[in-house]
Every structure is written in C-alpha cells, then in structure tokens.
Symmetry: C2
Subunit: 178 residues, 2 copies
C-alpha cells in the first residue's frame, strides 16, 4: 500500500510518499510545492497541479492530510483553508480516499507525545524511515502524516489480528518506534 | 463575453451566468450546488465537480468569485476557506481568469450602497437582468458578482472609451442602474 501524506500551506505544501509492505514502512519520496508570488487563484492552481502531479507520479492507494491549526489571524485562517481545499481537490480528483489527522495525532503517532517539537518530528521520521539525513520541516510533517495513517491502519490490524508483529518497527504504547 | 459568478459556501455554492453583449447584460443561467452530508473531502469534490460542470456547460470567458466574510467562528472560517478553494480550483482548471470582489463591492455595484440587504440585492439583480421573478439568495449573490465584474469591465471601458453608452442600463455615480 502506497500512502501519500500532505502538510497543506498556502506558501509551502509538503508531501511525503511511503510504502507499507506487510508491516514495514519504506520511504519513497518527499518534497515541497511552493505556490510562488501570483494572485490567490494562481497560487491555488500551483498547489492543485503540484499535488496532482505527485499523485500521478507515485500512484498512491490512499492519502492523508494534516488538519490545520486555526490561526489567531482570521485572514490567515481563510487563506490556509483555501490552500488546504486545493490540495484536497487534487486528491479527490485522483479518486483517493482522504484521511485527516490533527498535528497532535501526528506527533503522538511519530514521537509518542502530542507536544513534540518540529525537530523531534523530523528526527523520528528520519529514524522510522531509515533516512540518511533529516527531511525538511514541511516534508517531515507530510511523511509524519503518512506514517500516522499507516499506523492507524496498523492499529486497526491489531484489533483484527491480535498482534501486528511489526518487523523492523516495534509498537510501544500504541505507537511505532524505530 | 460570458461571465460566471460564484458565491462560495461549504453547504451551498451559488452560481450565476450572464452574457455581456456590447453594453447589455443578458441572463443565461443560475442555481446552487449543494455539497450534501458527506465528509469534508467528499463535499469539496461535490463543489469542485459542480462548478466544473457549470463551466463546461456554459463555457464562460471569465469568472468572478465573492470574497468571503471572515466568520467569528474560526472553524467556520476554515471550512468556508476550503469550500472557496475548491470552487476556485474548478475555475482555474478550466483556464478561467478569476476576479475577486467583496460583498461590499457587489452591493455597491448592484444596489448602489455597500450596506444593502440581501433582499435589495435580489430585487436589483432581478431588475438589471429583467428576470420574471426573484432569484434565490445564493444565486442572486452569484449573479450580482457576475454583474459586478461586468460593471468593473464597463468602468474600465469608461477610462479607455470616454463614455460607455450603456444601452438598457444606465450608469449613475459609477454604478449601473436599471
């Protein structure tokens, strides 16, 4: 199963693609989509086309996107909402089922605490996917969302299969550890 | 020139299509897209597909969308933003240039005061487009946005052509009157 994770943003949208083979997670790709300096419709088109291109290239079986923080500035919240809407549109256009996870769920799944720092997320994502170096912050969040979704699927399999018997990854207190 | 106006909303997205022939405005179509009761990605897909279908059916030359109010409830603002993002995605996918107007600009263009009521907008839209009855509130706003865009184009032609010589519509203090 190939999972596409998205960390939406108006300026920078992070994406991360991982593969779940049995109970192993394998890194496939990650990166960012920069929306540039155009007017809002142009920038939304960059996000739409960018996410669509990632989906067309890596042909994921499912997708997951981060629930965004409501900003203190309502205008920023509105802009972020539109960017997230564009990313979701690209996913549903590719007939992908889209799961949503909060930043707290992401951190809980990847680091083990909902109050983890960005650096901790980057570090754990690199460890869980055996990356040679740290991913950028946006890409790390996107990979983290994909891991969170894989984990959520694994948790479901615990319920049905009694024991996940994760090979390469271990599960500790309901989360995956390297 | 065929203009598509959009009044975005998560639950109901209004659309209005008008044609500008010389300086006359002609009603073509209007209606609403209801996003239904699915989860957020499903609802955004309904909006995306609905607006895309309107664009494919009426083949507008340009589009205009209402700038939305920032809601007192940040979560509502975020949802509205995502719905608006989906509508804009459908427009830019059809290679349409998308103009944006605030509710105040809409009311100013259609009724002549930025503090007009919804009922006044409906009434003036019906008069300006010689409709046999009042359009619904969402469709009226969408038609109003299209009129606002046509008007904005007319204003530009005032600058270049000295006098718009609107036939059927008159311009008074920078706005169209029936």
């Amino acid at each position: 199963m190939i999972i596409l994770g998205i960390d939406p943003g108006l300026r920078t949208t992070g994406f991360g693609v991982i593969q779940k083979v049995g109970n192993k997670l394998r890194y496939i790709a990650s990166g960012t989509i920069k929306s540039g300096e155009g007017d809002l419709p142009e920038r939304l088109k960059v996000i739409l086309d960018g996410v669509a291109q990632v989906a067309a290239t890596y042909k994921p079986d499912c997708a997951a996107i981060e629930k965004v923080f409501v900003n203190v500035n309502p205008q920023s919240t509105l802009l972020l909402g539109q960017a997230r809407g564009a990313a979701i549109c690209a996913l549903v256009t590719h007939e992908l089922k889209v799961a949503e996870y909060s930043p707290t769920q992401l951190k809980q799944a990847v680091v083990g605490t909902g109050r983890a720092t960005k650096a901790q997320v980057q570090d754990m994502v690199a460890r869980l996917l055996a990356l040679p170096g740290l991913p950028g912050s946006d890409a790390a969040d996107a990979l983290g969302i994909a891991i969170c979704h894989a984990h959520s699927q694994a948790t479901l399999s615990v319920v049905t299969n009694v024991h996940p018997a994760l090979s390469g990854l271990r599960m500790k207190r309901g989360r995956l550890v390297g």
